[in-house]
Subunit: 305 residues, 2 copies
């Protein structure tokens, strides 16, 4: 694997892509291009959580896909709201990957996105806005290079306007709105603009959503709202809501856990389900004839040169 971190902008060190580019081998894809997954970690637009970064990328790499972690623009002291920068960062990530596609053997027509919590919001926003002139107009590229082929959303924030009654959660919610929009009292027009469920179209990619019904930090209504919107437009989607589990489970296994509280065998089933679902869009281009048969015929080099 080639693992490297690249700054997305010349004049800023805070927005980076960490690439996990799988090695090519004559025994595997033999020069054929691999699909890729871009991961947006969560963190309330205030940071990008390591728990939803490298271990998730490695899990997608284990499925046979190149993986990229995008550390998008997050709120900094006195910086105002970050919107729409995180959305544009994701577009820039597509541009960067397209630029390196030949070198990295990336199948640029099959790039999926995967986000968690606020990163899920960013991916959902991208899903509905990637073809909008507000995004494409800023980039000197063919808009179709920006198209995500599939979207995976883990316990995503969808509707910032959802009522928050619990006073303890209200603070977190206001911090989120301030981080993203620069104000804890955004207008309803603004809330609508940043609610991806309101902007789903036929151009929105097939989407896999998962979360836990018992999430006490972010209501599962967010996930269900997005699912309803996708259903309304006829975009293919899949939803898995597990009964139990806190917010922020990531892979829900030890690889993404700080404590035993972030491990949940039930919720962890989302990974296998997403793996099967992703294969419908990202399956690798395998040969028909076995490696052994190819070797016997001599048109395949097994030995290391």
């Amino acid at each position: 694997v080639k693992a490297m971190t690249i700054e997305l902008y010349e004049d800023r060190s805070d927005v980076t892509i960490t690439a996990y580019v799988l090695d090519d081998s004559r025994e595997l894809l033999a020069g054929k291009r691999r699909p890729a997954v871009i991961i947006c970690p969560g963190g309330g637009y205030m940071f990008c959580s390591d728990r939803e970064a490298e271990p998730v990328a490695i899990r997608f790499a284990a499925m046979g896909y190149h993986a990229f972690v995008l550390r998008y623009t997050v709120h900094s002291q006195g910086g105002g709201g970050v919107y729409p920068k995180p959305l544009l960062d994701l577009a820039e990530a597509f541009v960067l990957i397209n630029e390196h596609a030949a070198e990295w053997h990336v199948d640029t027509e099959r790039i999926a996105i995967c986000g968690f919590s606020a990163g899920g919001h960013n991916c959902a926003m991208y899903s509905v806005y990637w073809h909008d002139s507000a995004v494409t107009g800023l980039l000197d590229v063919d808009p179709k290079t920006l198209r995500p082929v599939a979207c995976i959303l883990g316990y995503p924030i969808i509707d910032l306007g959802l009522r928050v009654d619990d006073p303890a959660l209200r603070t977190a919610h206001e911090s989120l709105m301030t981080a993203y929009l620069g104000t804890s009292e955004p207008s309803s027009e603004m809330l609508d603009a940043v609610n991806p469920a309101k902007h789903v179209t036929a151009q929105t990619p097939p989407t896999f959503l998962w979360g836990t019904a018992s999430d006490s930090l972010l209501p599962i209504e967010n996930t269900l709202t997005m699912a309803r919107a996708l259903a309304g437009v006829g975009v293919p989607f899949e939803v898995h809501v597990f009964e139990q589990g806190p917010h922020g489970l990531a892979l829900a296994d030890q690889a993404t856990a700080y404590s035993i509280k972030e491990v949940d065998a039930d919720a962890g089933k989302w990974v296998g389900l997403a793996e099967e679902w992703l294969k419908k869009r990202l399956a690798l281009s395998l040969e028909e004839e076995s490696a052994w048969a190819a070797m016997a015929k001599g048109d395949h080099g097994f030995q290391r040169t």
Copy 2:
């Protein structure tokens, strides 16, 4: 992840360790050491197959373990038999990892080994010989740093003396014996010495074995012979023999496949079974209190510095 290839000997470029060292993070293990898995790919002691190398390492890395691929000594033109070099290469891999343990955050008391086919033979040999003076006598280290805590064997070669009736397979079998022992007609004493099933002791680590009953290249008797030997001595072991599937399935999914013939959903279940089994020996040291709770108390730094 830090990915790098290191030559194991100063004067040879053919024996290497490719390391996949996971990043430390305050949100994950926060400086605590991780267990590791060393992988020996197969290839009949004539090459080391890429299909049983990086993708397998990445799958173990996805479980939360550091992973290392050992490309051990294989047969070269006119080079005679490689035995016992591959065995000693594995011991040297333990030495190298121990030397870098602090830098890489490796829990050196919990290093597992995993091999496929000929690589499985090498791991099984190491399992029974790691504490033998033939190994320890050559290395200036505390023998207990060489101890494997667990061993995973995929369709391993165990008994080179098993009868091969099929003439088509006889050639492959003779090549294997020549590559490993330097002769296609080894003595029975030699065959016994390199049959790990004959040398199992209480010092042999817990072992997980898997293969397919329909393997037409290497009889499943090899796997069963090793399992019987482990049972005889009371070493903990687990065996999964799937009814169907060719030799060399590796992960049996697209990540290790050249063609659709190397994909098998049934046999692919070995990975999840091995993951659960490994956790009994290698489970990460997670905290009791959640990351959120630790953050709220301020004894845990979430934001990137």
